[in-house]
């Protein structure tokens, strides 16, 4: 019997199964569709946006939505629709890269702690406790202040501030798998620790990580937008949704469209990610559903 092949097939069928369950969840599919659309928007922003995100028209400031400017114009006469289209790039970039950062660092810490255990684990997890004790947004603010304002630093700040969550999650998953037989088998066969972690343990604790990461992207986008809203991180004329909101804030009484559209864009994005995250959780862990 070819056990390896069987195992592979089994793995494949698990993901197929997940996909089958996910497909049945209308909300999750809706979320997925929105996210795909957002990615397309971000990739093809140059074609989609009718105007440049920075071209000003000081004669046409504060235009309300019209045929020429679907979402109106802002305080520099810039087309808000175009800015939102380009803004999707920033938000997706920040969201995914920040989560990437925290996933790589937090995941490594968690995997090492969970796999080796003992003193090392204790030390690493106490460090995580320290980070965890500081509210994410405060930590992110302090990091951005220290590193200086730029999109890259914003990603780093948001990423670092959510490391402990991933470290804990991965550690818990690794610990639950560490003692299983196939790990023992791999160990007996002389695989290196690194190989065991990467090849055998991590693939088997992907489910909770994927769910957490999906929702994590939403949280990262929110945190980043929050930082931009209080004026940290994004440099003008970058069309970041949070900074657009903050820019429109002073004009909210006269020109609410300036805050309405970026807010809707943000909410829809985050809603979509949350829907997908929820759907994935149900699909990956079907026993919770029924």
């Amino acid at each position: 019997m070819n056990t390896v092949k069987q195992k592979k097939n089994k793995k494949k069928s698990i993901w197929l199964d997940v996909w089958r369950r996910l497909r049945k969840n209308k909300m999750a599919v809706g979320g997925l569709v929105i996210i795909i659309l957002l990615f397309l928007t971000a990739i093809f922003a140059d074609w989609i946006a009718p105007y440049s995100y920075e071209s000003q028209d000081l004669l046409n400031m504060f235009q309300t939505p019209s045929f020429e400017h679907w979402f109106g114009t802002d305080e520099f006469g810039r087309d808000i629709f175009s800015r939102i289209v380009y803004g999707s790039r920033i938000s997706l970039e920040v969201g995914f890269i920040a989560v990437g950062i925290s996933l790589i660092i937090g995941g490594s810490i968690g995997a090492i702690a969970g796999y080796y255990g003992g003193r090392l684990e204790n030390l690493l997890m106490r460090c995580m406790d320290v980070l965890l004790a500081i509210p994410e947004i405060l930590l992110a603010i302090a990091i951005v202040a220290a590193l200086g304002p730029s999109i890259a630093n914003l990603m780093i700040a948001v990423g670092i501030s959510s490391i402990p969550g991933y470290a804990r999650l991965v550690r818990a998953s690794v610990m639950s798998i560490r003692e299983q037989e196939f790990i023992e088998a791999a160990r007996a066969a002389g695989s290196s620790d690194f190989r065991i972690i990467v090849k055998h343990i991590l693939p088997n604790c992907m489910a909770p990580i994927i769910v957490q990461a999906t929702i994590g992207v939403a949280i990262a986008i929110l945190t980043a937008a929050g930082l931009s809203f209080i004026g940290l991180g994004i440099q003008p004329p970058t069309p970041e949704w949070g900074s657009m909101l903050s820019g429109g804030r002073s004009y909210i009484r006269d020109y609410p469209h300036m805050t309405l559209f970026p807010g809707i864009a943000m909410m829809v994005t985050i809603l979509a990610l949350n829907l997908l995250g929820d759907g994935l959780r149900d699909a990956l862990d079907p026993k919770l559903k029924n």
């Binding site: 106490r126 460090c127 406790d129 320290v130 980070l131 004790a133 500081i134 509210p135 994410e136 947004i137 405060l138 603010i141 302090a142 990091i143 202040a145 220290a146 590193l147 200086g148 939403a218 929110l222 937008a225 929050g226 809203f229 209080i230 949070g242 909101l245 903050s246 804030r249 909210i252 009484r253 609410p256 805050t259 807010g263 943000m266 909410m267 985050i270 809603l271 949350n274 829907l275 929820d278 919770l288």
Partner: protein, 309 residues
């Protein structure tokens, strides 16, 4: 039990020192000279140099941190504000009531609304009520708090003129910020209650209770809720802890002078002692809230209680 908590409190000390170190380090590498900012942009260079010396800003990093840590541990002293010269503790205590009030009313709102709705949703799983509630809860989680705050102000302060847009001293003034800040917690607690209830309701002991011929209401409230409460308490505690330090945006939108705003302002002012003290304070409160949650656990769950003995 007492011993357990004593140990937990002791274990806080390294965490606090760790937090102090991180914040100290971050502020150390933050560009900007506190002396210069305190004195204002038109101050003379001589005064700036003099003040730097006086503040000990010219010492090497580890000397400064060592002094700080020593004062923190030995004297429980977090220093004085660079700007107002008041003890940092006083600075924090003047803004803390506003934050506590905000966080408290938000979490209260979340518990009072989230738990009942979550229970109904769980009992009527897949009903219209459940679907609508869950959709709203998802929207609640997805709504950026600063956007919701602005919309609330636009509607209730500007258009309708019912509620004030700023302040925190009166009950009226608290409504909008508490709703804005609480919306997410309401959503989170509703979802948590629902899923926790659903999980518990599937348990054998619930079926067992039903098999006794017990009233369905009693099954839900007496048997299910008691067990479902445990994760709800965790999440509520976690939320409350986060609200204490993380209400920066809400405080900024509604002009509430709370800890979050104090932190942001102090970072801008490079008022390092206040930032350090404030973050420490938040971290300690957060840890204490967690401890309190553990205490509540023991109260609710006899299994955990017996572990402490």
């Amino acid at each position: 039990m007492l011993k357990y908590f004593a140990r937990r409190i002791l274990m806080l000390i390294p965490v606090i020192l760790g937090v102090a170190f991180i914040v100290f380090f971050l502020l150390y590498i933050t560009p900007g000279d506190p002396a210069r900012i305190i004195l204002g942009d038109q101050a003379t260079e001589e005064s700036v140099l003099q003040l730097r010396e006086e503040m000990g800003l010219n010492d090497p990093f580890f000397v400064r941190f060592g002094k700080y840590a020593y004062n923190l541990v030995v004297n429980q002293d977090v220093g004085k504000s660079y700007v107002t010269k008041r003890p940092v503790w006083d600075e924090i205590m003047t803004v803390f009531p506003a934050t506590l009030k905000l966080a408290g009313s938000s979490i209260l709102l979340a518990l009072l609304i989230g738990i009942p709705i979550g229970i109904i949703s769980a009992i009527k799983q897949y009903s219209i009520f459940d679907n609508v509630t869950m959709l709203f809860a998802l929207i609640g989680i997805s709504m950026p708090v600063f956007w919701l705050g602005l919309l609330l102000i636009l509607l209730f302060s500007v258009k309708l003129g019912w509620l004030p847009s700023s302040g925190y001293t009166t009950l009226n003034a608290m409504i909008l910020p508490a709703v804005a800040l609480g919306a997410q917690s309401i959503a989170i607690i509703t979802r948590m209650t629902r899923s926790s209830m659903l999980e518990v309701i599937r348990m054998d002991y619930i079926r067992m209770a039903r098999s006794k011929g017990q009233d369905e209401n009693k099954v839900v409230f007496k048997h299910a809720l008691g067990n479902a409460l445990i994760p709800i308490i965790t999440i509520a505690g976690l939320q409350f802890g986060r609200l204490l330090g993380g209400a920066v945006l809400t405080e900024s939108i509604f002009s509430i002078p709370g800890i979050g705003r104090l932190m942001v302002e102090s970072i801008k002012m490079r008022d390092f002692p206040v930032v350090q003290g404030g973050v420490l304070f938040v971290a300690i409160s957060f840890s204490l809230v967690n401890l309190l949650v553990d205490l509540l656990y023991a109260y609710v769950d006899p299994r955990i209680k017996s572990q402490y003995k």
